[in-house]
Symmetry: C2
Subunit: 422 residues, 2 copies
């Protein structure tokens, strides 16, 4: 019965990866494998590119242990991609190719795990039934460390990077406090979030009160005022002996120029594409002469599964599981969301919204989460953030290192004679 | 009996801090507090400066729980300092001041927790008995993330930074592997170790075999050859699709110039004191055009108590405890060491060496630990390093964050009328 009626499922990862996107994969796959209406479960190698190039992985050939271990393995086990589908009118060939591949492999369920851009892709794929006559049930699975998807209380991936940044800020803050008497007085930590300050805000969880690091946070939502900033740094060093600054990579002047694009040039006159942390640190040194250190966490922050938030891991799994449950009920073109019922104690449930409501939209840090002096977070922001970093979910270790899994990645035999160039 | 015969102990932290220097403090203090010949236990605020300025903390006023919690708290709870005593001939006033403070507070035991420079300070203090007639039993407590003290198999502090770097390299490597198809192809992680490549070598633990990250390590011990390096990066991207590079902050050209001092200037023509990671990343971009990311771990790596090595924590405590045991036996001018009995299974015991044998000396990465092609570690290096990152020693958490302790820091009442300017 099942074999004839069922259609196969396609899952893929898209955009920048996170510490818990594989936990969502685990939720999708474990749920899909035991769902009656779903036949086989395939994954695209490198996101939608895997579908376009008929590069499919037979997830059924992975052991149950491997699938389970995805829950504690960071980054994209199936390969991710930064690839945005154009509109159907602009590139009909891509959609026709998708249908060709889906038809060849009897794919009737499409699960796309990503952020704003990826929800746009999922939305477009959901429309091929109406526009091209090949109905596929599409459900987006939210993932973004940037926490900028609307209509969900938070985004899987964010809680873990938030925990990493809060923990690192607390630890480095203790380091600087130790050294400040004779050495480093200013420490700058650069974190991700080009357009939204959620990750920078998480640094604010490291300490309470004006004396505790971080003393200053620079948000992308707040135009940078150099004079005001430098005065605050000096006041902070005068009062506490040192100053810890968390700066978003997206910190910018009022005219929109990123601080990171400060026109730095190397010895040959080439533009230096650098981080914002060294720019801010040099600014402080030039104004005040303080000895400084700076760090740029970059990929370390979003892949740090070793310090993942347990809440985040659970939510990442839950949205994957919910996506399949929605799809088999026939709900099309939606994305599961996290709905907060209360903050203390933290209670959440899974909801869902239409993909059209989230595609290409960004949720910035609201003004009421930024302290009036613009350099810190409010109590409301802390109430929002704190539950998201709660709990630890340590991976197993072997030889002193996290024992992360690699998939076998057995390719599904190709059925099409044609190649497709992406 | 005890009160009249006993002399007090002085403990202080010196140089760059680590994830486990407070575990050594815990070992010193817990052992000293129950040692019959030792009266009170004092700590210097900010290293030797605390002694010179009579700025002493009465450790007996801390709760047993606080002292115990030092074992899981990173950085220097008593404040550290970069301050090197001159020779007795060059600055006799400093030594006379030390004796004045020691005499006023009946200090007969001096425990100094630091690296090469600090062992030199401890050695000099150990000589004031012979040269100035005020005998103090001095024992150094080894600490340096750089792992460059001679005559000890390893240095407390190193194992934890090694674990951090190995874990981070493994995690970021998975991230880049996910993204390389359409985005980042080269990732550069800058780690500490200005003169010795031990920390960079630890990155090599992240993977085995040529396909696993890190694909290239740049050691300070190996003169940088740009052409050879760029060729290897290209070969790596061609073979595996991406390339992960761990670079020591001390990577340098054959003529001794650091790569980090590449003459980078900001828009105003001021020299940019930057990291080596962006320099290397730009080099790759200019030669090959690959999209890249880079990270500078800086203080994050040495304060990362959340991912400390259990072996490292145990050794840090053990050298602190041993220092006190040696001192009360009357052994002067020594430093406890870690003696490796075997690597697999790992067995170690505590030994000791004269301070004169370690002061101001640096142990570099030996040639047999660097792979013949110069871009990786050998099996012998792996055998050496692997036991040092073994085991986890997670701190307790509260509200999603490590629950690190702050000392009360009750000051000892001053007895001297004079101030001392340092």
């Amino acid at each position: 019965m099942k074999k004839t009626a069922s259609r196969n499922a396609f899952y893929a990862q898209s955009g920048g990866v996170s510490a818990v996107i594989n936990a969502s994969a685990c939720g999708v796959i474990e749920t899909a494998l035991r769902s009656r209406p779903i036949g086989k479960v395939y994954a695209g190698r490198h996101g939608i590119i895997g579908a376009l190039t008929e590069d499919l992985i037979d997830v059924g050939r992975e052991s149950a242990a491997t699938i389970r271990a995805l829950r504690h393995t960071p980054a994209g086990a199936f390969g991710s991609a930064r690839f945005k589908l154009k509109g159907i009118d602009q590139n009909r060939a891509e959609y026709e190719r998708l249908i060709e591949v889906f038809r060849a492999h009897n794919i009737g369920y499409f699960f796309y795990n990503g952020g704003n851009d990826s929800m746009d892709t999922a939305l477009k794929v959901s429309q091929i039934g109406a526009s091209l006559g090949f109905p596929v049930t599409c459900v987006g699975v939210p993932k973004t460390v940037d926490n900028d998807l609307p209509h969900t209380d938070c985004c899987p991936g964010f809680g873990s990077v938030a925990k990493y940044v809060a923990v690192s800020t607390r630890e480095a803050g203790l380091d600087v406090a130790s050294m400040a008497r004779t050495s480093t007085k200013v420490f700058v930590l650069e974190v991700m979030g080009r357009h939204a300050g959620w990750i920078a805000a998480a640094g604010g969880l490291a300490g309470r009160g004006p004396a505790a690091p971080p003393h200053l946070i620079l948000f992308p939502e707040v135009p940078f005022e150099q004079q005001k900033f430098l005065e605050r740094v000096r006041a902070c060093v005068d009062a506490y002996g040192y100053c810890v600054i968390v700066v978003s990579e997206g910190a910018a002047y009022a005219d929109g120029r990123f601080l990171a694009d400060a026109g730095t040039r190397d010895a040959f006159g080439h533009t230096q594409l650098g981080g914002v942390a060294p720019v801010v640190a040099n600014m402080v040194r030039e104004a005040h002469g303080y000895k400084y250190h700076w760090a740029v966490a970059d990929y370390l922050q979003r892949s740090a599964r070793h310090i993942a938030s347990r809440v985040d891991v659970e939510q990442a799994y839950a949205v994957g599981k919910a996506a399949v449950e929605l799809a088999v009920k026939g709900v099309n073109a939606v994305m599961p969301t996290i709905v907060r019922k209360r903050s203390k104690p933290y209670r959440w449930v899974i909801g869902h919204v239409p993909l059209a409501a989230v595609a290409n939209k960004e949720k910035k840090l609201p003004p009421e989460y930024i302290r009036e002096d613009s350099f810190g977070i409010t109590a409301a922001c802390r109430r929002y953030l704190e539950p998201l970093i709660a709990g630890e979910a340590y991976p197993p270790y072997r030889d002193g290192l996290p024992d992360y899994v690699h998939i076998r990645g057995v390719a599904v035999r190709r059925k099409l004679k044609t190649d497709f160039k992406v």
